[in-house]
């Protein structure tokens, strides 16, 4: 990885504005919703009930990861080539961009979880919030490890979406889409196959050993991202 890869990563992060705008809209809407509910609660107009839940504000930021992973290969590839970039720089630079964004979103998610969300939940959302840090059990391992677990998961998510988006203009992209849907549809009703699916999700999400979950996500991320080498080599501009 070179300085050029860093330039590519920086350019990617600067040029996924639509992802930022959409995420910001959802982010602000969530805050507004919380403000309204808290105000109603304090004014004793509406107290809600014990089952109230909200999507964790930190998890709203996951949208940046997903949309960024769509826009980088679909919109930024050609533009990068039009500035004289090379495919190898795009390959490494995009990887670097995903790493930086996954780390930033994970960090922001941690900060929001311990500050904003803790406050809002304690006041109004008695049943907690829909935050993967809590539901996947990562937060039980402490803030530092939870941050790395979330980062590894987000990186895997970004790499998966990036790779799938890269092949959507090819027949094998559609074949991959169908295969994913088929795997879920076929594996779920058949017990042994369902067990395999459960094992897979346990490895990348729910594994009680944080180290195993982190390593699984990182190894799988590297393996999936490696597929982009031949994909990129065949890609026309």
């Amino acid at each position: 990885m070179t300085t050029k890869s860093m330039v590519v990563a920086k350019t990617h992060i600067r040029n996924i504005k639509l992802a930022y705008v959409i995420t910001a809209c959802w982010f602000l809407a969530t805050i507004l919703q919380d403000i309204v509910f808290l105000a109603l609660h304090w004014l004793n107009v509406f107290s809600g009930n014990e089952d109230n839940m909200t999507v964790g504000l930190g998890n709203v930021l996951y949208l940046i990861i997903i949309l960024g992973a769509v826009f980088i290969p679909s919109m930024n590839f050609r533009k990068m080539m039009n500035l004289g970039g090379k495919r190898a720089d795009f390959f490494w630079g995009s990887a670097m961009g995903h790493v930086i964004m996954a780390a930033a979103v994970s960090l922001a998610g941690m900060i929001l979880y311990y500050t904003y969300e803790s406050f809002v939940i304690s006041v109004y959302y008695k049943a907690g919030n829909l935050n993967v840090l809590f539901w996947f059990g990562w937060i039980n391992n402490g803030a530092a490890i939870a941050f790395v677990q979330q980062f590894a998961f987000l990186l895997l998510l970004a790499v998966f979406v990036h790779t799938l988006t890269s092949v959507q203009d090819k027949w094998y992209g559609w074949a991959a889409d169908i295969a994913i849907v088929a795997i879920i549809a076929v594996f779920t009703p058949i017990a042994p196959l369902r067990a395999a699916l459960v094992w897979f999700f346990r490895m990348i999400i729910f594994h009680p050993n944080a180290f195993a979950q982190i390593v699984s996500c990182l190894v799988l991320s590297a393996a999936i991202y490696a597929l982009n080498k031949p994909i990129l080599a065949r890609r026309t501009i």
């Binding site: 300085t3 050029k4 330039v7 590519v8 350019t11 600067r14 040029n15 930024n76 050609r78 533009k79 990068m80 080539m81 039009n82 500035l83 004289g84 970039g85 090379k86 495919r87 720089d89 080599a233 065949r234 890609r235 026309t236 501009i237």
Partner: protein, 282 residues
């Protein structure tokens, strides 16, 4: 050295490039001339390794070109290409960071000369200025082969003249292969040395401008005098008005008989006759 050997490019059923063989031996300004859809951009994309050929072989300095092996020494940016909506100065800065040997001073000099507002974002620039920015980025590259696709699209006459001067300056400072695709032959002929005419995916002419100047001529006179002269000549077009005929020839010059005049054919007429090549005498 650039070589195309029997190169074909098909888009589905459409053949964009048809078994083209072409050899560009070394430095020079080459004009790639053709009508819309003739295959100019496809030829450039193939050479840059932006798209894969359907057959044949392309080599640059003996190295085969493909999408997985884009030649480092070839730089091509398509005209009307999409760019990041960043300030023009940032786009130049990013290009400079991505390309080895990018001549930033040259880019700044060109931007100033063409009054390109470097503080404007790409989408805020006029069509001509967008083309200009893309052309500046391409031309500032230090690569040994530069491909300029319609670099004067949207330029006014003064800008086109300035562009030609700068093209020449760039070549004098850094002699290399500059291939310029255009429709505006008479203007580019002031700076180009070699002409490649492409039509319907086929190379029709590959010759020096001086050579064309020598070989392209028009015989004008009474049809009864001109017609017999055409036997054995490569007549690329004819115009008949009453009983006066103008026959456009590409080939060795002849000594016309009395009553028939021989005039030099302008490049524009040469191009029109080569790609149009239709007589109006029937």
């Amino acid at each position: 050295m650039i070589e195309f050997k029997n190169v074909t490019k098909k888009y589905g059923e459409t053949t964009a490039i048809n078994r083209v063989s072409l050899r560009i031996p070394g430095s020079g300004i080459y004009c790639l001339l053709g009508r819309n859809g003739a295959g100019k951009t496809t030829l450039m994309k193939l050479l840059a390794g932006h798209i894969a050929s359907s057959g044949g072989e392309i080599t640059v300095n003996g190295e085969p070109v493909s999408t997985s092996r884009m030649p480092e020494c070839v730089n091509f940016i398509e005209s009307g290409s999409v760019q990041f909506n960043m300030k023009a100065s940032d786009l130049i800065g990013t290009a400079a960071a991505l390309q080895d040997g990018f001549d930033r001073n040259f880019a700044t000099k060109m931007a100033k000369r063409f009054d390109l507002n470097l503080n404007k974002r790409f989408k805020q620039l006029s069509f001509g200025m967008k083309t200009m920015l893309t052309t500046i980025i391409t031309l500032s590259n230090n690569s040994k082969v530069i491909l300029l696709d319609e670099p004067t699209l949207g330029f006014d006459a003064i800008m086109r003249d300035q562009f030609n001067t700068l093209l020449l300056e760039s070549y004098r400072t850094n002699p290399r292969v500059l291939i310029v695709s255009t429709h505006l032959i008479d203007e580019i002929s002031k700076v180009t040395e070699n002409l490649i005419i492409i039509e319907s995916g086929n190379i029709l002419v590959e010759a020096g401008i001086d050579d064309i100047d020598e070989k392209a001529y028009t015989l004008t006179g009474a049809a009864s005098l001109v017609l017999p002269l055409l036997n054995g000549l490569n007549c690329i077009g004819k115009t008949v008005l009453g009983n006066v005929m103008a026959a456009h020839i590409y080939g060795n010059r002849i000594n016309p008989p009395d009553g028939v005049t021989l005039d030099r054919m302008g490049l524009q007429d040469f191009f029109i006759n080569m790609v149009g090549g239709k007589s109006n005498d029937n």
